[in-house]
């Protein structure tokens, strides 16, 4: 039997109206832009707007005072002290945290698989909440029952025992030590990732060239890590300038503002001092300082990168 197949007539292709070239990228970007606008741009602009008001945050909208709060900020010794403390925190973050993290990363990298458990132990402080860590640190520093002072007394070093968090001379240092302890693992992981991408061939080539392990580290591995170091420095600066939680739990910025940071000062101004307008001025100033210093650090490190 012979069968014939009747082909249906070809359907005309449906055509969508041609969309402008920018439409698809714009649609993809829209969710991110919307999120940024709602959670970043709006609060930021709102904060700047509030900084122009004299308002306690309660009741009716405050009184417009122009740049009054900003002028006050420029002459506020507490703000400058807080900014100075932030600068110390940033400096010690870079000087202590990064070299320590790098040293740990190099040692762990060298130990390879054998160091798996050590990596987990070192990483623990970062997994703990800052509040829990703050409470723990407060107990460690307790002048009467804290293990630090008890240990010093046991070692007959009573002269070195202090009221670590209660004495203005030691409070900032004590807080910075805990901040370093908390953040070293983060930078350690960052450097470990950088070291993991280091080509083994380069080490071998340098070994054949007669380089010692020390020379290989300084002259081959460290330059390889410069991008990671740059990122770490930036993160350390930005993180230090915005730091809040651990310090607030441990000292609340005290004693006598000895460990006051911009963020703790801003928090207390708004929520304890009920000065929403001035607190917003501090918050806006923090944003400007962080942006300015981060941009400066980025620029400097780029220049450094092009030079090496």
């Amino acid at each position: 039997m012979h069968m014939t197949l009747n082909r249906p007539a070809a359907l005309p292709l449906l055509r969508w109206p041609r969309s402008p070239a920018w439409l698809v990228p714009a649609l993809f970007l829209a969710p991110a832009v919307l999120m940024l606008a709602v959670f970043l741009l709006y609060p930021l602009l709102s904060s700047f707007q509030l900084s122009l008001l004299d308002w306690n945050g309660l009741g009716e909208q405050g009184r417009f005072i122009g740049l009054g709060n900003w002028l006050h900020l420029l002459h506020d010794p507490l703000f400058w002290r807080a900014l100075g403390n932030n600068a110390w925190l940033a400096l010690f973050s870079i000087v202590i945290q990064l070299p320590l993290a790098l040293a740990l990363a190099v040692l762990l990298d060298k130990a390879g698989e054998r160091s798996r458990w050590l990596k987990i132990i070192y990483f623990l402080p970062l997994l703990m909440s800052s509040v829990a860590l703050g409470v723990l640190a407060k107990n460690l520093y307790d002048p009467n029952f804290g293990p630090i002072n008890l240990l010093l007394q046991q070692l007959h070093l009573d002269g070195l025992a202090h009221d670590w968090l209660g004495d203005p001379a030691y409070a900032l240092g004590a807080v910075i030590a805990v901040v370093c302890w908390q953040n070293v693992p983060f930078y350690m992981v960052l450097f470990l990732a950088g070291l993991a991408s280091f080509p083994e061939d380069l080490s071998e080539a340098a070994t054949l060239d007669g380089a010692s392990e020390w020379t290989i580290f300084w002259r081959i591995k460290l330059p390889h890590l410069r991008g990671t170091v740059r990122t770490a420095v930036l993160l350390a600066i930005i993180g230090s300038l915005r730091y809040f939680d651990l310090v607030f739990v441990m000292t609340g910025g005290g004693p006598e503002h000895a460990s006051e940071l911009m963020a703790t000062y801003m928090y207390r101004t708004v929520f304890s001092g009920f000065q929403l307008g001035y607190g917003s001025t501090i918050a806006s100033a923090m944003f400007l300082v962080v942006t300015l210093i981060a941009a400066l650090a980025l620029r400097l490190s780029r220049r450094f990168q092009t030079e090496v």
Partner: protein
């Protein structure tokens, strides 16, 4: 310059994992020796053991007259060129080449002299200020070689140095390496899995398989007289046709083997150590198979596929009853040959090889 002697060299990672299973080899002063073999055969590991980048589990390594087993890699008088080039990315070409000399405490004038000389040899003088990222693959390879040259080593080691280059550049670099060896006359040990590189560069080839040296010899010697089935199959492109057969006996000094369907083939080899009826393998290189002309007796076959490559024609043919497809390399004028054509194949007696049941070749008689 120095000779390199390996005596019973073994490499084990654990008690059960031995990757180099006892290598004995004498590499003469100024010789260009190529280690070749499939991936994972241990050729690179052996090179790294010579370099001092891997410990030697057992055996003796002599560089020149000195035992080098426990000598640090930097003190062995060797220089190595890596597959990845391993150039220091943050240093200029000049600094890459000068690095070893600076570490050795050479004075500035001496460093400059050696770097400039190596750069001239490799024609990279204009690249000395550039960083590796600003170089092409071929230029990076030259810098890697330059870095080795400035050290004026006794032995050069090359670990698959051309693998990352494209085909035409690889050809150029092969020629350059040959010239370099002719100029420097330094002992060179070169690892590759590419048999063409091995055939074209080497004074002698060492074929490896599974951590064991299969055969050592000059390229042509290895090609013409492979010691076993592995070497026969490894060298040559397309590879040698290997057909299962049965030894009928020896007739007028020729081994007579029988393929399935009663097809007999004669080969000029000494098969006297094998017994008639034993299993053997017949080996014929694609370029040795001829198409029978009228009047010739030949083995009937059918063409399965034809590849016209211009200068040659590659035909893949099937002999009835024989499982394997045979590759036949014919002169380029066979332009009319097409799939499905019936042909008759001739295996010249003097070209055919026969391997015994253990895979070892019978010696040629001509």
């Amino acid at each position: 310059m120095a000779s390199v002697t390996l005596k019973g060299i073994k490499k084990s990672y654990t008690k059960d994992v031995t990757v180099i299973k006892g290598v004995d080899l004498q590499i003469k002063d100024g010789e260009f020796v190529v280690f070749v073999g499939p991936s994972g055969c241990g050729k690179s590991t052996l090179l790294r053991m010579i370099a001092g980048l891997e410990d030697i589990t057992e055996g003796e390594l002599m560089i020149g007259d000195a035992l080098a087993n426990d000598v640090h890699a930097s003190k062995r008088g060797i220089a190595m060129v890596f597959q990845s080039y391993a150039l220091y990315p943050h240093m200029s070409v000049y600094d890459n080449m000068a690095f070893s000399l600076k570490l050795a405490g050479a004075d500035k004038a001496e460093i400059d002299k050696r770097v400039q000389r190596a750069a001239e040899i490799l024609q990279i003088t204009h690249l000395l200020e550039r960083k590796p990222k600003a170089l092409s693959g071929g230029q990076r390879q030259r810098v890697a070689i330059g870095r080795a040259i400035v050290r004026e080593p006794q032995v050069f080691l090359f670990d698959e140095p051309l693998s990352n280059l494209d085909a035409s550049l690889r050809l150029n670099m092969r020629v350059e390496l040959s010239k370099l060896h002719a100029d420097l006359k330094t002992t060179m040990i070169y690892v590759t899995h590419d048999q063409v590189e091995a055939m074209t560069l080497a004074d002698r080839i060492v074929v490896f398989n599974a951590g064991v040296v299969q055969q050592v010899g000059s390229p042509l010697e290895m090609y013409e007289n492979p010691a076993n089935l592995f070497v026969a199959g490894f060298l040559g492109s397309p590879k040698m046709n290997l057909l299962e057969a049965q030894l009928v006996g020896v007739e007028n000094g020729l081994a007579v083997v029988r393929l399935p369907k009663g097809i007999t083939v004669r080969a000029a080899v000494d098969a006297s150590r094998a017994t008639a009826g034993s299993k053997v393998t017949l080996g014929v290189r694609p370029e040795h198979i001829q198409l029978a002309t009228e009047g010739d007796v030949g083995i009937p076959a059918r063409v399965d596929l034809v590849e016209h490559l211009g200068d040659i024609v590659l035909a893949y043919v099937e002999i009835p009853g024989v499982n394997d497809i045979l590759a036949v390399k014919l002169p380029g004028h066979y332009t009319n040959l097409k799939r499905g054509d019936a042909v008759r194949l001739v295996f010249p007696e003097t070209s055919a090889l026969v391997f015994d049941e253990a895979g070892l070749a019978f010696k040629r008689t001509v």
